[in-house]
């Protein structure tokens, strides 16, 4: 990272760029809230309004420009209209297209003039909206060009007046045009706009520039770093569940359409740039397979060591066959990318809603516990009751998502499937129209079933009545039973075959329960292992038979229970690679926390890197590692109950952080404060 990039990075972190911002002026919404206009036209008018309100910001030495200065994108509907829409339709989240990965490559190559030519003379809502939007975007880019001229930045001035119209000729062009397109989609009102396989669609520009000598590798890295910094300019304005939940995810590596290793120089440069910048965006996903060389895992682990929480790994050997089994075209499956969190989606071909609903495994156990446990003669019969609950719940969920309405997204449609040819907005459907359903609290359900099997049926030390009473009382007055269940060894993550076998059963039941059901758009329902925010925020919180109290959250995604003290990382991987994850391929990673100090030595980094490699070889689908930082440790001191599985490793031995003496904890924290 050179001095200029360092300064840019510091400025973004300091928020210097925010001084140019102003809110959308009140009262100006009327122009795009005219009920007589179709939603696509209203969306286009709003987009044009925002473009015209934008204040161009160009520094003398900028190479990549465009940042949002209009703070908010007001709804195209008034509150009353929105309420009415929600009353008549199923609206997913905000009602806009979201969590979608466009195909940027075509427009980056040919520019928007080519789009205008291709739709010239065609009439229809999409085309009318698009013409309006492209014109507005041209005006904005021309104003940027003029501002660049004024600042004496002739390169940007030239680029901004030419590029949107004519398309990219160089790597710098391609990065800038991506920025323009990405900016536009957000400004149009869509959110969780995925970046996708940047290292694939931009590589030809890099390769050409390097070959012709226009760029050196060093120049390319600098450009890329400036480009990545731009992902952090507007991210606080993007709507999401939490700050940082902005869907700016990049997927690197993986395979080509022919199945060859696709990791290239640009993938490498992206990793390096992210490692240098240490910024929250973009978020890296790394596609790996059993053919991924060890060094790549080592490089990736060095990124993990920075404490950013990425890369997140996804295993092509599991994901691609899983998608093909669900009916995806093999070429599309090989081109998969990762949505805002972890759902696997296809760039440019999906109008999928991979997070439309969530199935709570512990709720199925809880219902079966109350309806069936007292009468079942053996564990298998009880398990059958749980399976019936899961099947019924899966079916019920598919019926809750009918009569979907999504607000149109004309600009985005230009980059999706054959929308431009057909004139049909992407919000109405695309090649793939599948819905994904999360599977929340799997390990809690598994641990609960394992406890019931062990204590109610095998040892018969706990009666069904006592267990039910304890659960209903949230274990108040049942201290002994609570600790017996809570500290039992039969937990997922300890590598115990018969316990992990329960996870196999639950996931299979979930997937089978969705099998064959079509959604109203002709798509299927995909089962997944993600929890989204549901592990923390859900109405379905109650004590569970594994000794979890009602107020305690579930483990995140596809991970061990939060308070569970597992044997170690190898056993966790053994447990979580036991199920056949091709069947639950909506996504949702195993998350593992490592102490930041585990990555201090080359040896430590290599150990963790190899652990990822084994995870992939054993058939894990998705993995996310954390180097835990001091803030977490401090929170763990305040709320030790939430961090029982947080491990700190000291020389040759490990300890649970919360079980260490206060003095020791303080030492660890103090050491972190001195860390560079």
């Amino acid at each position: 990272m050179n001095h200029r990039i360092q300064a840019l990075r510091n400025a973004v972190l300091a928020g210097d760029h925010k001084i140019c911002r102003s809110p959308f002026p009140r009262g100006k919404e009327a122009a795009f809230r005219d009920p007589a206009l179709p939603y696509s036209m209203r969306t286009a008018i709003r987009f044009a309004k925002i473009c015209d309100l934008e204040r161009p910001v160009v520094a003398k030495d900028s190479r990549i420009v465009l940042q949002r200065t209009v703070i908010d994108v007001p709804e195209v509907c008034s509150d009353e209209e929105m309420t009415a829409l929600r009353a008549s339709y199923f609206l997913h989240e905000r009602g806009n297209v979201s969590n979608i990965c466009p195909d940027y490559a075509g427009v980056i190559a040919s520019g928007l003039d080519a789009v205008l030519i291709s739709i010239d003379g065609k009439s229809g809502q999409l085309y009318d909206a698009l013409r309006l939007e492209i014109a507005a975007l041209y005006r904005l880019c021309d104003r940027y060009s003029a501002e660049a001229e004024r600042m004496g930045n002739t390169a940007v001035a030239e680029r901004l007046s030419r590029l949107p119209r004519k398309g990219a000729k160089s790597f710098a062009d391609a990065l800038q045009l991506f920025r323009i397109l990405h900016f536009s989609i957000w400004a149009e009102g869509e959110y969780h706009v995925i970046v996708g396989r940047l290292d694939q669609y931009l590589y030809p520009y890099l390769a050409a520039d390097l070959a012709s000598g226009v760029l050196t590798e060093e120049d390319a890295l600098e450009l890329l770093e400036e480009f990545f910094i731009s992902f952090n300019l507007d991210s606080d304005l993007y709507p999401g569940m939490q700050q940082g939940d902005d869907g700016q995810s990049i997927v690197l590596g993986g395979c080509t359409a022919d199945g060859e290793d696709a990791y290239n120089l640009l993938s490498q440069l992206c990793m390096t740039a992210c490692g240098n910048l240490c910024l929250a965006d973009p978020k890296i996903n790394l596609r790996v397979s059993q053919n991924t060389p060890e060094e790549r895992y080592v490089e990736a682990t060095k990124l993990t060591a920075k404490g950013l929480g990425f890369p997140q790994y996804s295993n092509d050997d599991v994901v691609i066959p899983g998608l093909i089994a669900l009916g995806y075209d093999p070429v599309d499956a090989r081109n998969y990318t990762v949505a805002a969190c972890w759902e696997f989606i296809i760039p440019g071909k999906g109008m999928e809603i991979p997070n439309i609903a969530a199935l709570f495994f512990p709720s199925a156990v809880n219902r079966a516990l109350h309806t069936s446990l007292a009468d079942t003669p053996d564990f298998d019969s009880f398990l059958d009751a749980v399976k019936s609950e899961i099947t019924a719940e899966a079916k019920r969920l598919t019926e809750t998502v009918k009569n979907l309405f999504i607000l149109p997204a004309p600009f985005l449609s230009m980059l999706e499937g054959d929308c431009l040819q057909t004139g049909r907005d992407v919000s109405l459907g695309n090649v793939y129209n599948h819905y994904g359903i999360h599977g929340v609290g799997l390990s809690t359900a598994v641990d609960s079933l394992a406890a019931i099997r062990q204590f109610v049926f095998k040892k018969q030390t706990v009666s069904p009545a006592d267990l039910i009473a304890a659960i209903d009382a949230d274990y108040a007055g049942y201290t002994d039973l609570y600790t017996t269940l809570r500290y039992a060894d039969c937990k997922m993550g300890n590598g115990i075959k018969e316990v992990d076998g329960l996870a196999v059963t639950l996931l299979k039941t979930f997937a089978n329960g969705l099998n064959g059901i079509r959604n109203e758009r002709g798509g299927i329902f995909r089962a997944g292992t993600g929890s989204a925010m549901f592990y923390l925020h859900s109405d379905e919180s109650f004590a569970t038979p594994d000794g979890k109290c009602a107020a305690e959250p579930y483990g995140t995604n596809y991970s061990p229970g939060l308070y569970v003290r597992n044997k170690g990382p190898l056993s966790v991987i053994r447990s979580f690679t036991t199920p056949d994850l091709t069947k639950t391929i909506n996504g949702g990673p195993l998350t593992m926390e490592f102490h930041a100090d585990s990555f201090l030595t080359e040896q430590g980094i290599r150990s963790v890197a190899l652990l990822v490699k084994v995870f992939v070889e054993k058939g894990g689908h998705q993995l996310q590692l954390n180097a835990v930082d001091v803030e977490v440790l401090k929170d763990a001191q305040l709320h030790p109950e939430n961090y029982r599985s947080l491990i700190v490793r000291v020389w040759g031995w490990s300890a649970y952080f919360v079980e260490l003496s206060r003095e020791y904890q303080d030492h660890v924290i103090r050491r972190q404060e001195f860390a560079v």
Binding site: T484, L600, T601, S607, V650, W653, V668, R671, F674
Partner: protein
């Protein structure tokens, strides 16, 4: 079949050899170093541990029980509702331990098993039987303070050897570890004579092992060794006391309140490759950083 006592099996030891390591801690050690990291290590028989800090004092562990495994300890190991009472030390047959280790085969193919302790060579016969059944890379962390006839056959079964050499002065060695270092030096010479590659690890304990004289004397001793791969100078981790409390022991090592004196140069001068490993905790100042 031979039986052995293990006090822990840790997954993913980060300083116990190359790649993914499974570290098996054998209980029992001939030395009693004042700075010992693993106070549950020295005694070979299983020992009771109690997490006193979370004990609510219900007294159920003190009530008479009929569990045969509790009989030797005068306390019930199964009664604690919070699972705060347990045993350090589990007895395995060689087959059982080998089976448990080989169960990690998928992982060990990318690393191996490391025997640590305690002192693994104290259970040499048992461990030889285990090691012969393990088709993965094997390493041993040893203090080498056992008779050569126990030490060497086991050492020769290992792919990697990490031999502790703490002090050259015999009197000091006796003072801080409870034993003479003669046997240790003899075993190191025996390894070299057998042309078995080994790494020497010197724990730098401030005020005890980290003097210039001691590091120079060790370097002198090693300078003639042809099978020595390198010397690792380990910066000491000051966070041992927690584990002492669990088995009701006090920790009173006379460790100087300053960072260790690291003299890789003394080894380099004598042509010995030496690396300073600053392990977890090594950077935490005992008092203030200005002591540097």
């Amino acid at each position: 079949m031979k039986r052995g006592t293990i006090f822990d099996i840790k997954e993913l030891g980060l300083y116990d050899g190359d790649g993914i390591r499974l570290t098996v801690f054998l209980k029992g050690c001939p030395l009693s170093c004042v700075w010992c990291q693993n106070p549950e290590g020295p005694k070979m028989p299983p020992e009771v541990f109690r997490h006193q800090s979370r004990c609510k004092g219900c007294g159920r562990c003190k009530l008479p029980c009929h569990h045969p495994d509790c009989a030797p300890f005068g306390i019930c190991l199964h009664a604690c509702p919070d699972h705060l009472v347990g045993l350090y030390g589990k007895v395995y047959t060689a087959d059982e331990l080998a089976e448990e280790i080989n169960g990690y085969g998928d992982f060990l193919a990318y690393g191996g098993v490391t025997f640590s302790g305690g002192e693994p060579a104290l259970q040499s016969e048992f461990l030889c039987e285990v090691a012969r059944q393990i088709p993965f890379p094997k390493a041993m962390e040893t203090c080498a303070a056992v008779p050569t006839e126990d030490f060497l056959p086991l050492a020769l079964l290992m792919d990697d050897l990490f031999v502790d050499l703490k002090m050259m002065d015999e009197g000091e060695h006796i003072r801080y570890t409870g034993r003479s270092n003669r046997q240790i030096l003899e075993n190191i010479r025996a390894l070299d004579a057998a042309k078995k590659p080994f790494v020497i690890r010197l724990p730098l304990i401030p005020g005890i092992t980290d003097s210039d004289e001691n590091q120079a004397a060790i370097a002198d001793f090693l300078s003639e060794m042809s099978s020595l791969q390198r010397v690792e100078l380990l910066s000491y981790n000051p966070f041992t006391p927690t584990k002492y409390a669990l088995i009701g022991r006090a920790y009173d090592a006379p460790i100087a309140n300053r960072p260790p004196n690291i003299r890789t140069d003394l080894f380099a001068e004598r042509g010995i490759p030496a690396v300073a490993l600053r392990l977890r905790g090594a950077d935490a100042p005992h008092s203030s950083p200005s002591n540097h």
